[in-house]
């Protein structure tokens, strides 16, 4: 399984070669991404999982290792899928910097999921930060420059906390390996442990788009082009969901049971998740810029996912993983279509997008399907996640019950704005002018295909049941499924 490093090395080699590619860059990027996607699917389907890969021949915890479990490879498959979609919807990005940066982002997103070393994780997360900053800044206008520098400052400040946290971990436990830390976490002094958790969480919450760490999100989504939006959501966001599962629920888990080791912090995170859901859905309600609406909704979904993860029982975890998949698919549909719609109307404002659904009914219906899935309406993938998370939260403490009420209240707000927007596409166009640009068939096909998947999972949740159950099981028994994989025979 050492060949898994190709997932990192090939994109990076591509990034160097892109300096010289002129017109071929896009094709090369697509080929590389197709390779990583197929390769990761092959790993996922092979029966060699779970396995720990020592890089450079040095065994963990002394060398850096990659841990391939059903969970991590499953996320890799999703991330690469988003990556390949983002390449297909590129519109007019020609310069080599774009492709080079994209390939670095691809490698970093893969690495952030696969790595089993916390410092290596820090480097990968810094790499994603820089890559995302460069991609946001790519249009180089007022909007994107402002968004990029503000994101960079915020992310750097936060990641310095992460670095301090890593330093403290090394100082106290003398190791940097995630599995090693997980198995030694009980030895720590409670307050020192809290210090470590606070420092590391600060570092990762910024990328997780959680309130109040997420001031950059709407700006970044608004400034980025459609393909960058898909990357931000599909690659960074999905990797973020994995990070919670790995860092919070494996590294800081009590006896590998998927419960955060410090119950007070767990409650604080639930409060933060609730705040995120509430703030983002309320903020999206009156927002006129479609991309910002989707950005707010992304934050809200992330809050919901983290809420599910923090509850910690099997039901809620299953729900959270369903939510990850559903949010991943549905939001990509919306971002792909939003890019097309903005290009067609030349306006960011959804109120100007009347008549698109009448002109392109397939696109309009796909958008409706995506938004219904995000709302958690039955027959769409999001429903099962939401149902299971709420069901799981019922058996929790009072924080979690409050969380349910907040989820249900915001569901109303979310439903109103999403359906309001969806319906706008089906209104009659006021002026008889033609649209500025034509919708591209392949974008609509991608959106429609994803919509069909969303529908299929919604009607028959058993389609991904096995995968989700594997993931849930891995989190719930992380000692045998993660630590034992890295250090066979330690327990």
């Amino acid at each position: 399984m050492n060949s898994v490093l190709f997932l990192i090395v090939i994109p990076l080699l591509g990034a160097f070669l892109a300096l010289f590619g002129k017109k071929a860059n896009r094709i090369v990027a697509i080929l590389i991404t197709a390779f990583t996607e197929i390769f990761s699917i092959m790993i996922y389907l092979s029966d060699k999982l779970p396995v720990s890969v020592a890089i450079g021949g040095w065994q963990a915890p002394y060398g850096i290792n990659f841990v391939l479990t059903p969970l991590s490879v499953g996320f890799i498959v999703l991330i690469n899928l988003a990556a390949i979609i983002s390449l297909f919807i590129i519109r007019g990005e020609k310069e080599y910097q774009f492709y080079s940066t994209y390939l670095v982002l691809l490698a970093a997103a893969n690495g952030i999921v696969l790595t089993g070393d916390i410092f290596n994780f820090y480097i990968f997360s810094e790499l994603t930060t820089f890559a995302i900053t460069a991609l946001i800044a790519y249009p180089r206008n007022r909007r994107s420059t402002g968004a990029a520098i503000k994101y960079l400052i915020l992310a750097s400040t936060a990641s310095s906390f992460l670095l301090i946290g890593i330093g403290v971990v090394y100082k106290t436990l003398g190791t940097l390996n995630i599995a090693d830390i997980a198995s030694k976490i009980d030895l720590l002094n409670p307050l020192t442990l809290e210090l470590i958790i606070v420092l590391i969480l600060t570092g990762i919450f910024v990328e997780l788009e959680l309130f109040p760490f997420n001031m950059w999100v709407p700006k970044a989504y608004f400034a980025g082009t459609a393909s960058v939006n898909v990357m931000l959501h599909g690659m960074l966001g999905t990797a973020g969901a994995y990070i919670i599962a790995r860092i919070l629920l494996t590294m800081f888990a009590v006896n590998g049971s998927g419960m955060l080791v410090n119950a007070n912090i767990a409650n604080a995170i639930i409060v933060i998740a609730m705040l995120t859901i509430f703030v983002s859905e309320i903020a999206a309600f009156n927002e006129k810029k479609l991309k910002k609406v989707l950005a707010f909704s992304s934050m809200g979904q992330m809050g919901l996912i983290i809420f599910g993860f923090m509850i910690g029982n099997e039901q809620a975890l299953t729900g959270a993983f369903y939510m990850v998949v559903a949010n991943f698919l549905a939001k990509i549909i919306l971002f792909v279509l939003t890019g097309e719609f903005i290009a067609m109307t030349g306006s960011d404002n959804w109120e100007d997008m009347k008549g698109i659904g009448r002109k392109h009914p397939v696109a309009g219906v796909s958008f409706v399907i995506g938004s219904l899935s995000l709302m958690g309406v039955p027959f769409f993938a999001g429903f099962w996640g939401k149902l299971a998370v709420i069901q799981g939260a019922m058996s929790g403490n009072s924080f979690m019950i409050t969380g349910i009420v907040i989820i249900l209240i915001t569901a109303v707000v979310e439903g109103v704005y999403f359906l309001k927007i969806s319906h706008t596409f089906f209104l009659k166009k006021e002026d008889e002018k033609e649209f500025n640009a034509k919708a591209r068939i392949h974008s609509i096909v991608i959106a429609a295909a994803l919509a069909v998947i969303v529908l299929a999972i919604g009607v028959h949740p058993g389609l991904i049941e096995n995968n989700v159950n594997r993931a849930t099981n891995e989190i719930l028994n992380s000692t045998s499924n993660y630590v034992d994989v890295v250090f066979p025979g330690r327990y």
């Binding site: 490093l5 040095w58 420059t145």
Partner: protein
Amino acid sequence: MKNDKSLLLNILAIAFLAVLAYFIYSVATSNDIGIKVTDNNVVENRVAYRYLNKNVLDENSKYEWGGKAEDSAANVVTSIVADYRLFDTSLEVIVLFITVMGFGLVIPKENIKIKESTELLYHWTPLLMTYMLLVGGYMFINGHISPGGGFPAGAIMSTAILVGVLAGKQTVSHTTLKKIEAIAGTLIFSIATLGFFLKGSFFINFLEGGNVGDLFSAGLIPILYTLVAFKVAAELSGIYFEFYEGGEEHDNV
């Protein structure tokens, strides 16, 4: 910058720092059981101890000065950076690569004329440059024995080129730098991949190690450091060229 000093923000900042400070204080003075952050280091419990003893592969192995070891770099920091955790280091290269590329992407392209340098500077620069390049070269070649290594070496070499730029000497062209950068980067990762085909593992030090303390020891480390040094030098020099190279704004502004 009218409102550069906002009282409210200052108060909030101090309040936050006070919370943080109190938190750190209570962490430091906590009396609960368990390992505390303020405890003294016990090096034997750490991964570092195995690095120092160079017995990661075989716990009972011992090595001697001038003898063979699993990693024969005399500088233990180097052996960590460029061997045990080589993967991190190669990613560092990518960090530099992407930030410099991002810099080149966002920097406005304007024609900035450099002031004519004085005669003295113009003529003495080559001497200075040669000296600096020599120091840089020494550093990356000896990175595994003494303090130094690819990154500082690259920085010194790029300073040499900067001096050249300031003196008005066009030593290398921007395209050449780009090529060096790409070739060095490709080579680093090709060597990493070569390890997979030779020994079945990426980023493996597959060359015969040599003896601890020798110049020709530590296997791939000097080679990798050389590549890193060239890449860093090319990238950092690229930054200076981005400033002074005029040209068209990119077409999709």
